[in-house]
Symmetry: C2
Subunit: 336 residues, 2 copies
DNA sequence: TAAGATAGTGCAATCGCTTGCACATAGAAT
DNA sequence: ATTCTATGTGCAAGCGATTGCACTATCTTA
């Protein structure tokens, strides 16, 4: 802040000590006598001394803060993940800095690089649906920035990852539609790049196979921008309807709500006839009409696990070479 | 970051110049010859030089970043505000740091103080529903930290503020209920401390008066925690029902969705009989059942306006002494 | 030709904090 | 009495960038 606060120098002057003694006393180092420590601590308390984190970051070349990149915080899934991240980070005395990519590769790169230059100690990132080129991340990673991916993870990047069991989530949702008698089940999904897209597609296919239902590629629609543009979504829905699906399995939060919205808007008469099962972490699903079956991801927990892994990397004495991919189970909440 | 990047010193060494010359060249100062500037810029470009913002912050005692405090980002209203803030901030080369108070005074204070110590140049804040004591903010403000309040603003704090026209929004919503024939209109609202609570209550009362409907205090229920605890909300709803309201005007996003949820859960048979009008910025209202009339706040715009005011304060040459309270109109979206 | 003006660059201090090393004092061991 | 070991403190450098001031050429001008 541009306004004056008491510094270590002020304390030193007031107490007739050197700044080094004060610094060490505040950090509770063994070299300093108990007496001096008490003196310093008491005075620091009195003048409400706060160490300047900027100065400390500059000196120590770290900041006790971790960066987060999500596509958008307005998405319930991501805001829940963030809450999970915060719950662990604050506990371990880290602060978090949140950035949104808005599903744009350019914005994502810009934000990551800004975070890196602000000395974040580590990065938690869910890739944007546009992102294909990971070189900028590899570069930072090679220079020593710990990175943990969650939700949308790359295949060919050796580090910790935390994901939901997308295959099983998709399988369960699709199976549920089948078991409620649906046979023409469309699949509305995200950009093909994304890991989650592939895994969920695989789960969908597996369920069809199990029940001997033919997989029809024309029933699968990809949305490049993950439903950020409603036009894209309406177009996809419009293209799907001629095939007369009696069920749709949808592969992301935004797409799920967006699809129902599009259905209601463009074809209100069929909206209630098509059974919908989709990934969503909205806590408002109970209010939706038509109601739907939802696949909920353990968002909060994902945030927690990812943060624990990240902090373990940050605080590791020697370079980490063994990496884990944690897979957390989803929950199927059946339509009432 | 703990990993090496090229610094101004490296450039200086490589080019046989001094760090001061390099610094000045990069900042395009008049003292440096065009030739040298070109040289430096070209080399900086080549080694992908990024000024270290930490070092700059330390030296300049500012950070080109602004802090944001909201109760929670999962709330659509706030995430839209944040998007508005970002749209202006990025444009003017500021970065934003988001923090959540989760409606807790303690958390709010902690976050604000941390932000201040990280040299934010200004603060945008919507108060938590618990907050009564503004001394810690006054203190920072007095020391020179520019602050702009939005949405939940204090009365006795001289600075810029940006709010929605809560009175009119509430009036319109209540009037709408009256005009659709409701006569026993309850009011479910937030903590009494909040400015928005008072203003919306006033609007509600004014509408009742206009249509000669008696104001009954027992029909007004306050939720201290703004609906963060579902028990609190269910309790409030339960207390309201014996009065047989035929309409409810609800004064916040979370309460609105929470109330419908509570109604559906505890009294599904009456849920559809009670007309609901409430403040909410959810972009999913169209999906809700029972449907409702909503008062939408111009969230994005609020963020923009607040940020413009804040940046004008930050960049003002002399202390600002004339303050504005901008009031933006809400929009009534009638139930279909 | 000497003195002054101008342009271009470098020196060194500074922001607040951390830390390796040197130093001082005092008691223990020889 | 001398050396050694603790113990407690201080000096000063350094993190990367900015900037007032001083300095050196080069060019004017009287």
């Amino acid at each position: 802040m541009r306004f004056e606060t008491s510094t270590i120098k002020d304390i030193a002057k007031a107490l007739g000590l050197s700044t080094s003694t004060v610094s060490r006393a505040l950090r509770d180092r063994y070299e300093i006598s108990e007496e001096t420590k008490k003196l310093v601590l008491a005075y620091a308390e009195k003048v409400n001394y706060r160490a300047n984190p900027i100065a400390r970051s500059l000196k120590e070349r770290r900041s006790y803060s971790i960066g987060i990149i999500v596509s958008e915080i307005a998405n319930n899934f991501f805001s829940q993940v963030i809450n999970g991240i915060e719950s662990i980070a604050y506990d371990k005395d880290y602060h978090v800095i949140i950035s949104q990519s808005h599903e744009s590769y350019k914005q994502e790169k810009l934000n990551v690089e800004h975070l890196a230059s602000r000395s974040i100690d580590g990065l938690l990132i869910a890739l944007s649906s546009e992102t294909q080129d990971l070189d900028y991340l590899r570069h930072l990673y090679a220079k020593g920035l710990p990175i943990v991916f969650f939700d949308r993870v790359p295949e060919d990047f050796e580090t910790h990852k935390v994901i939901a069991n997308n295959f099983k989530g998709a399988f369960d949702a699709t199976e549920h539609l089948i078991l409620s008698g649906k046979r023409t089940i469309a699949h509305l999904t995200n950009s093909e790049n994304l890991s989650i897209t592939k895994e969920r597609l695989a789960g969908y296919k597996a369920a069809l196979i199990k029940y001997h239902i033919e997989f029809r590629p024309e029933l699968v629609k990809y949305c490049q921008h993950g439903g950020m543009h409603s036009a894209e979504l309406e177009e996809a829905v419009k293209e799907l309807l001629p095939f007369m699906p009696d069920g749709i399995f949808i592969s992301s939060d935004r797409l799920t709500t967006g699809c129902i919205m599009a259905l209601k808007k463009t074809n209100p008469e069929v909206a209630h006839k098509i059974a919908i099962a989709g990934f969503t972490n909205s806590n408002l699903v109970e209010l939706f009409s038509p109601s739907l079956t939802s696949v909920k991801q353990p968002a909060f927990e994902m945030g927690q696990v990812a943060t624990e892994l990240l902090i373990s990397m940050i605080e590791a004495k020697r370079p980490v070479t063994e990496f884990e991919t944690k897979v957390l189970d989803t929950e199927l909440v059946k339509k009432r």
